[in-house]
């Protein structure tokens, strides 16, 4: 895989064998009756990471988070935080704090009392509680709302109280359950960067549960894509997006055109896959050796497909001929659905680099067009 050399190993502790993982999840399973929520997963998270557990509802991501917090006990396996086995440690003794999806602010307490709650439980001196709460409220810009009750705050303000409350104890790990889920789009973007800033400043390890792939992509150092209780892929946002290892990941993160076929040959790390429904074999980069005849799927992202009214001349490019069937105009880009033949449609996203000329975009309905992509733009998946 093309690990970017521009990043130092300091930014990517998981590549450094000398680094000790901060959170170790070892063979952890969780069953609710006959239902297996988390299925024998292993995961190492390093200090200072902003790690996302990404998946659809019911994939087990929240259960895993709740096991780290101590609200659920693993059916088997163990969780180690900073070298200490958490198996017999109750939630109130764990060096972990959580920001709840519902925020779970105490409605009968003021903002200030909410934030001070955790410090009081630890028996911190009054003066210190006061100064730490002040600092924290200053950081989330809620100082003037200190005497308000949660019901007197807006959604965004509540979210910041929840964040302040979970950070004030300086936890080793902060768990965030859908931290931006309840906010509207503008607030989400703003809060997202605030979260990243805070994480950077405090150096706390963040573990975020989210179903929102965009959120995961922009926030995270690494992402674990979860489905049906286990990890489909663990990697950086770039790895997950550019080099998905399963069809599930390719489809869940962004969208992908998928062709099912069989490996015909492989030469110089380029595999040729024959697809029954296409007139020509597809060439795609794949470093690992593939046996001829292996069932394989070629995935190519819509924005990596070029669209033209003239045939492409580059050597080695995959090229197909088709007709524009559907156009989705998004302003900055347009998505075209190209009908290749009866069985195959291809999605192409193209940035609208120019204004339409004579009322015509790059391509219009029913236009005859050519689509093409380099072998390096596609991935070969075998599962």
């Amino acid at each position: 895989m093309a690990a970017a050399a521009s990043h130092s190993i300091h930014d990517r502790p998981w590549l450094d064998p000398a680094q000790k993982p901060f959170i170790q999840i070892q063979g952890v399973s969780k069953q609710f009756g006959p239902f297996v929520a988390v299925d024998n997963v292993d995961l190492d998270i390093y200090r200072g990471e902003l790690f996302s557990l990404l998946g659809g509802s019911g994939c087990g991501k929240t259960t895993l988070l709740r096991m780290i917090a101590g609200f659920e006990t693993p059916t088997s396996g163990r969780i180690v935080i900073d070298g200490e086995d958490m198996s017999s440690v109750p939630p109130y003794d764990r060096p972990v704090n959580m920001m709840f999806q519902s925020y779970a602010l105490f409605p009968h307490m003021t903002v200030e009392q909410n934030v001070a709650y955790g410090l009081k439980r630890d028996g911190v001196a009054k003066a210190e509680i006061q100064s730490r709460v002040n600092d924290m409220l200053g950081m989330v810009e809620l100082t003037q709302f200190r005497k308000r009750k949660p019901h007197q705050l807006s959604g965004g303000q509540r979210q910041r109280v929840a964040l302040a409350r979970s950070l004030v104890k300086n936890p080793k790990v902060l768990l965030l359950d859908e931290p931006l889920g309840a906010l509207d789009k503008r607030l989400r973007e703003q809060t997202q960067y605030e979260l990243m800033n805070i994480q950077d400043r405090l150096g706390v390890t963040f573990v975020v549960v989210t179903h929102d792939q965009e959120e995961a992509m922009t926030l995270s150092t690494r992402i674990a894509v979860m489905d049906q209780g286990y990890f489909q892929q663990i990697g950086t946002p770039t790895e997950i997006y550019e080099y998905p290892v399963t069809r599930f990941v390719a489809n869940f993160i962004g969208s992908a055109n998928m062709f099912e076929g069989r490996v015909a040959s492989q030469e110089d790390e380029i595999a040729e896959v024959t697809v029954d429904t296409l007139p020509v074999p597809i060439r795609a980069e794949h470093a690992a050796p593939l046996a001829a005849g292996t069932r394989a799927w070629v995935a190519v992202r819509p924005e990596k497909v070029q669209l033209s009214r003239e045939p492409f001349s580059q050597a080695g490019i995959n090229m197909l001929e088709g007709q524009v069937e559907e156009i989705g105009y998004y302003g900055e880009s347009s998505t075209y659905r190209i009908r290749i033949n009866e069985d195959v449609r291809l999605e192409v996203t193209h940035p609208n680099l120019r204004r339409p000329r004579d009322g015509r975009h790059l391509a219009e309905w029913e236009d005859k067009v050519y689509v093409g992509w380099e072998p390096g733009a596609a991935v070969v998946l075998t599962s």
């Binding site: 109130y92 959580m98 709840f100 009968h108 709650y117």
Partner: protein, 305 residues
């Protein structure tokens, strides 16, 4: 235009419905609560006389033919002067307060357990709480007489087991009254508590635990303050009827436990002193309403701040 006229007709009908919906409960309150209350109030400021009805009228005509309104406050003064009434009021309040606390102590864990149980179990448990209402209240109190009597089930069982030699006196004691009141009013404590706790967001308890609160601390700092409305509602539902309770002290306390309900009954029936009986009722009402109004006042003050 026709549609407009139709719309207006509907609006009119809706307005009259609205009026009806509000009017009926008000009329109900007026007829069945306020009217008797004013009658009692009127009798409480009248004088006893040997006649039918056995009290002087509020409005009368004097010898000169002028209309006079007679308000006599002797009855209230009498209640204050005779220590029997003061003691009885105090004893009633003592018994109802203690019973309320006992109901709270027993009912709170029960309500909590019901809320935390699975939906199927929860319905069964709730049914069990409501089940006693299907039998007559009087019958159930009589059943307790059978259980608590000197030759009753409990004493017989204890003697048979050899725990005691002679029966323990339980019936016709304050203890029996407590048993009766707590037993009878426990559902009135549990149900409002249940309704309140059901709304309690369990993630709040998890949040407290997450922030370092042990279970006992979570209970004191989150669960308890969050369930105050349920505690208040349940306590009022137990405290108010228990204070004026007549049947239980009469049947289970015999003549040994003084409660205001019995005194009221005696004044009314045995002494046929309606004015004093009415005064007793009015004072009881004030005793119960004033603390409630005070609580309401504090509540609304807190809410507005």
């Amino acid at each position: 235009m026709a549609q407009g006229a139709f719309g207006r007709a509907i609006e009119k009908a809706q307005a009259s419905w609205k009026f009806l919906v509000i009017f009926i409960p008000y009329a109900w309150l007026l007829i069945f609560f306020l009217a008797p209350f004013f009658m009692v109030l009127k009798i409480s400021v009248a004088e006893l006389r040997i006649a039918s009805p056995p009290f002087t009228p509020l409005i009368a005509t004097d010898a000169a033919g002028a209309t006079i309104i007679r308000l006599v406050f002797d009855n209230f003064a009498y209640l204050w002067e005779d220590s029997l009434y003061l003691n009885t009021y105090l004893n009633s309040l003592k018994i109802s307060t203690t019973s309320t606390l006992l109901c709270l102590l027993i009912g709170y864990p029960i309500a909590y357990a019901i809320v935390r149980s699975t939906p199927t179990t929860r319905n069964i448990l709730l049914l069990l709480i409501i089940l006693p209402f299907w039998t007559s209240f009087l019958l159930r109190v009589y059943a307790w007489m059978g259980l608590l009597a000197d030759q009753g089930t409990i004493n017989n069982l204890l003697i048979w087991l050899g725990v005691i030699d002679s029966p323990i006196r339980m019936l016709y004691t304050e203890f029996a009254v407590y048993i009766g009141i707590v037993y009878t009013y426990l559902p009135f404590m549990i149900l409002p508590l249940y309704a309140n706790m059901e709304k309690l967001d369990m993630s709040l308890l998890e949040a407290a635990s997450d922030l370092g609160a042990r279970p006992a601390v979570t209970f004191l700092t989150v669960t308890l303050p969050m369930t105050v409305p349920g505690i208040v509602a349940g306590s009022l539902l137990v405290f108010i009827p228990a204070t004026g309770e007549y049947v239980i002290p009469d049947l289970l306390g015999g003549g040994n436990v003084l409660m205001i309900g019995r005194v009221l009954y005696n004044e009314f029936n045995a002494n046929t002193d309606w004015p004093v009986a009415s005064a007793v009722a009015i004072v009881l009402l004030l005793l119960l309403v004033l603390p409630m109004m005070l609580y309401q006042h504090i509540q609304s003050k807190e809410a507005s701040s």
